[in-house]
């Protein structure tokens, strides 16, 4: 025991990043970065929610004069862009970047400085968007920015430029997160964590990351093309010079559809973690679950045309997309059945987390079923771009991503902060959200069939849409109340919550094997995994570990990809200001490019200086003797 204390002390010293502003700006610890990532994403969630509230306020009554079209179009564009680019994807990655290293038993992510850069890029992108919005320069061409409406002729001014550059920022951040997660999962798993022992949450994060790698380049390329059309007179989307408006739609949805699965797949991983813990049973059909996630990811790339059924495309081709869209229901179904089988075999504990899990089933399946409906071309031609679709994807995204996320928050908050959230407030949080969600979005199905298109800032009284819209707006108030309860719960629990202990829920995965909140180095020793549920499989309450990693430096253990056999040791980079500087210069060049192409040149040169410092080797004595020339 004395020996362990000594090691702990040494690790504390070598992993300590200090305190104060400088330490905050230079941190490269995955937990510090993920925590601010999560907090930032929640701030954007609230901002996006406020925008949603304004939309509902405007639409509550016909011919409402509260918000004019100019502001309304900015608001709904901001709402969509915020929720997709600044909340949903970042928050999922952030939770992954926090938990994955803990769950696989490593000390940090593979490229800590790059990770920090990802956060700063994301932050700057979001801040850029909101500064512009507050100066009445918020994008107003929709989160999908269809050309030619978003092009130079029909959207003069800087509004859409801001949008296109915000995309560049956030997509760089998302790609960085994906690279981190894939490399970390491939190379840094605890010894013994072979492929068939990886927790389902980690599988989900891994698969999501691969989807990001192949889907996001499409939006990076297309938003750059849009920016060039707007700023330097290229003609990618200009039909008068051989460009094509539909090219944008193909590229956008080649990213945009996988994006939905990029958001939902991590949530499915969270569900597996929570269901396992709160039924105290292993997930039924682990191999089927993994294969389902993988096939969902593959099929997710074959569906983009189902956003374009109303455009002129060959009909046979369209039918194939119908079939693919229907087919993707199958792997999702497999997962749902396996979870129900798990619940059936176990003894559920109705914690707030588990309530949100049940909420997921009740809501997401509605969204899934209406999703199959709009996979049908004839049906979609009526439902497309109406409130039916708005209802559909809010059931999918709130039911399929936000509910699991709230559940996950109640589940992992104790690990992140060391304190439990109040269960009583949690139940209020759940029931208000559940009721509010249904009151807000269920009527929208009917509104859509009654002919109400999306993205309208007003409607005539004689259309007969007033009552259902009012109902929907009342639902939005209930959701606001729920989120307020949640924020209050976090505020109070952070101060007065019950101390959590290492493993308050009796979870089975490795993040519960260390203290709450975890120390900077995560686990005292690198654990050795002997089964799929390491903490349930422990013999005599003893966690098998390996020893021998250096404690005076940020040393980590690398293992083989398939069987996680220990291979070699390596060093994690420590705190540095360089990622922030690179984000400032690189990001600055992206912003200045909106006004002059020289921004790119100047920014590149400044960034280059930073990169030289970044890559320039720093040798500390006694580690690895410098080579003689």
């Amino acid at each position: 025991m004395r020996e362990e204390d000594e090691i702990r002390e040494k690790l504390e010293t070598s992993w300590d990043e200090g305190s104060g502003l400088w330490a905050w700006l230079t941190s490269t610890n995955h937990k510090s970065i993920s925590k601010r990532y999560i907090v930032t994403a929640i701030v954007f969630f609230i901002l996006g929610g406020i925008e949603a509230g304004m939309i509902r306020a405007q639409l509550a009554r016909p011919e409402n004069r509260l918000i004019g079209p100019d502001l309304y179009n900015q608001i709904f564009t901001m709402h969509g862009s915020t929720m997709m680019f600044l909340f949903a994807v970042p928050v999922m990655e952030a939770v992954g970047l926090y938990l994955v290293p803990l769950m696989i038993g490593t000390r940090n992510v593979a490229f800590p400085r790059l990770n920090a850069l990802g956060y700063w890029m994301y932050l700057f992108g979001g801040v850029l968007l909101y500064i512009a919005f507050f100066y009445n320069t918020g994008p107003d061409a929709g989160w999908f920015a269809y050309v030619p409406l978003s092009g130079p002729e029909y959207s003069p001014g800087k509004r859409v430029d801001i949008w296109a550059q915000m995309i560049t920022f956030t997509e760089i951040a998302a790609l960085i997160g994906a690279v981190e997660i894939i490399t970390t999962v491939f190379k840094q798993r605890a010894p013994g964590m072979s492929l068939n022992r990886i927790p389902l949450f980690v599988w989900a994060m891994l698969i999501m990351s691969f989807m990001i790698v192949f889907a996001l380049p499409a939006i990076v390329v297309s938003s750059s093309m849009l920016a060039m059309d707007r700023l330097i007179d290229t003609h990618f989307f200009n039909p008068a010079e051989g460009g094509d408006a539909l090219l944008w739609q193909h590229l956008f949805w080649f990213f945009g559809h996988p994006e939905v699965y990029i958001i939902v797949i991590p949530a499915l991983g969270m569900l597996s973690s929570m269901i396992e813990t709160f039924t105290r049973r292993r997930i039924f059909g682990y191999p089927a679950m993994v294969l389902s996630l993988i096939s969902t990811a593959f099929l997710g790339f074959g569906l983009w045309v189902h956003h374009m059924f109303a455009t002129p495309l060959p009909e046979l081709g369209q039918s194939l997309f119908t079939a693919a869209s229907a087919a993707i229901a199958l792997p999702t179904g497999v997962q749902i059945f396996c979870w129900i089988a798990t619940i059936w075999s176990g003894r559920p504990r109705y914690t707030t987390s588990f309530m949100f899990v049940i909420g997921f089933f009740v809501l997401f399946i509605i969204g899934g079923l209406s999703g199959v409906m709009i996979a049908s071309i004839p049906y979609d031609l009526q439902a497309h771009d109406t409130f039916f679709v708005v209802a559909h994807f809010h059931y999918v995204l709130i039911g399929g991503a936000v509910f699991p996320l709230f559940g996950a928050f109640y589940y992992w908050f104790p690990k992140m902060t060391g304190r439990m959230l109040s269960e009583r407030a949690g139940k209020w949080n759940f029931w208000l959200f559940f009721v509010g969600m249904n009151v807000t979005f269920f009527p929208m199905h009917i509104l859509g069939l009654f002919g109400m298109p999306r993205r309208v800032y007003t409607y005539l009284p004689e259309m007969g849409w007033g009552n259902l819209n009012m109902l929907s707006s009342i639902g939005a108030v209930i959701i606001v109340a729920s989120v307020c309860v949640f924020l209050g719960n976090v505020w109070v629990s952070l101060r007065r919550g019950i101390p959590a202990g290492d493993n308050p829920w009796d979870g089975s995965t490795l993040e519960w094997a260390t203290s709450s909140p975890p120390p900077a180095y995560n686990h005292l020793f690198i654990p050795v995994v002997e089964g799929r549920d390491p903490l349930w499989d422990m013999r005599e309450g003893e966690l098998a570990v390996v020893t021998g990693l250096r404690t005076d430096r940020h040393e980590g253990l690398l293992t083989s990809i398939m069987d996680a056999e220990p291979e070699h040791r390596f060093e994690f980079k420590g705190p540095t200001i360089l990622p922030l500087l690179l984000a400032v210069f690189g990001g600055g060049s992206i912003v200045i490019a909106i006004f002059t192409p020289w921004g790119v040149t100047v920014g590149s040169i400044l960034s280059l200086v930073i990169l030289v410092c970044w890559f320039w080797p720093t040798i500390s004595p006694d580690y690895d003797t410098p080579r003689k020339r």
Binding site: A110, L175, A178, V179, I182, K187, Q188, P191, V213, F214, P217, A218, S222, M225, M228, D229, I232, D233, T234, H235, F236, P239, E241, G242, G243, D244, L247, L251, F254, A513, L524, F525, I526, V528, E542, L543, A544, V545, V546, T547, G548, L549, R550, L557, L558, I561, P566, E567, R569, F570, L608, F615, W616, P617, T618, I619, D624, P626, R627, R629
Partner: protein, 202 residues
């Protein structure tokens, strides 16, 4: 939590090559991302093709094969010094020799970059002429950005080999650099075929 030590890793090596090294994976994923971007540019090229009766658009000359073919040759041959550098790094040979091969790679890179300037002229169109000009210029420019980044990065690693403090892990960096350069070479072969050869057939 009680711990039960089952192994000691202190004797494991502190660097590794190829897929054993995280940086190799980071590099490979970067290649996936950029390769996808190139594939999307290529798809856009053929998509835009459908909007024109003639390709290149009538009034525009076919892109010249002279300077572009010379540059293709330069870029393909440039893989050789990287291959030599990577092989020596793998054998953990003298860092100065590796540095020399990398410097040769940098020289090839510089030549390719200069020739790229003439390749733009060989297209006989401008980025703001029409969609054909936009997509061909963009393909060349995006690949040029890779050439620039790759050449600078190689220069930096060569510099480390000559003057910087060198760790064993810099051997890994040299091999990974070579992999990235192969990607630059291979992607250019494909893009050359699309931009300079395909217009003669489609």
């Amino acid at each position: 939590m009680k711990h039960r030590p089952v192994g000691d890793v202190s004797t494991l090596p502190d660097h590794a090559f190829s897929h054993h090294a995280p940086i190799w994976w980071g590099n490979l994923l970067m290649i996936f991302i950029e390769g996808t971007a190139f594939a999307i540019l290529a798809a856009s090229y053929f998509y835009i093709r459908r909007n024109f009766d003639a390709w290149p658009p009538s009034g525009t000359l076919l892109p010249d094969l002279g300077v572009s073919s010379i540059n293709l040759l330069v870029i393909v041959i440039s893989a050789a010094p990287f291959w030599c550098a990577a092989r020596l790094a793998r054998a953990e040979a003298s860092v100065a020799t590796i540095g020399l091969w990398l410097t040769l790679g940098v020289l090839f890179g510089v030549v390719a970059i200069v020739l790229r300037g003439f390749e733009f002229a060989a297209l006989h169109t401008r980025y703001d002429s029409n969609a054909y000009g936009s997509i061909t210029w963009t393909i060349l420019a995006v690949h040029l950005a890779h050439l620039l980044a790759g050449t600078l990065e190689t220069f930096l690693i060569a510099l480390v080999m000559f003057v910087g403090p060198v760790e064993k892990k810099h051997y890994t960096d040299a091999t990974v650099m070579a992999v990235y350069w192969y990607f630059i070479v291979i992607s250019w072969v494909a893009l050359y075929l699309i931009v300079f050869i395909a217009p003669r057939f489609i």
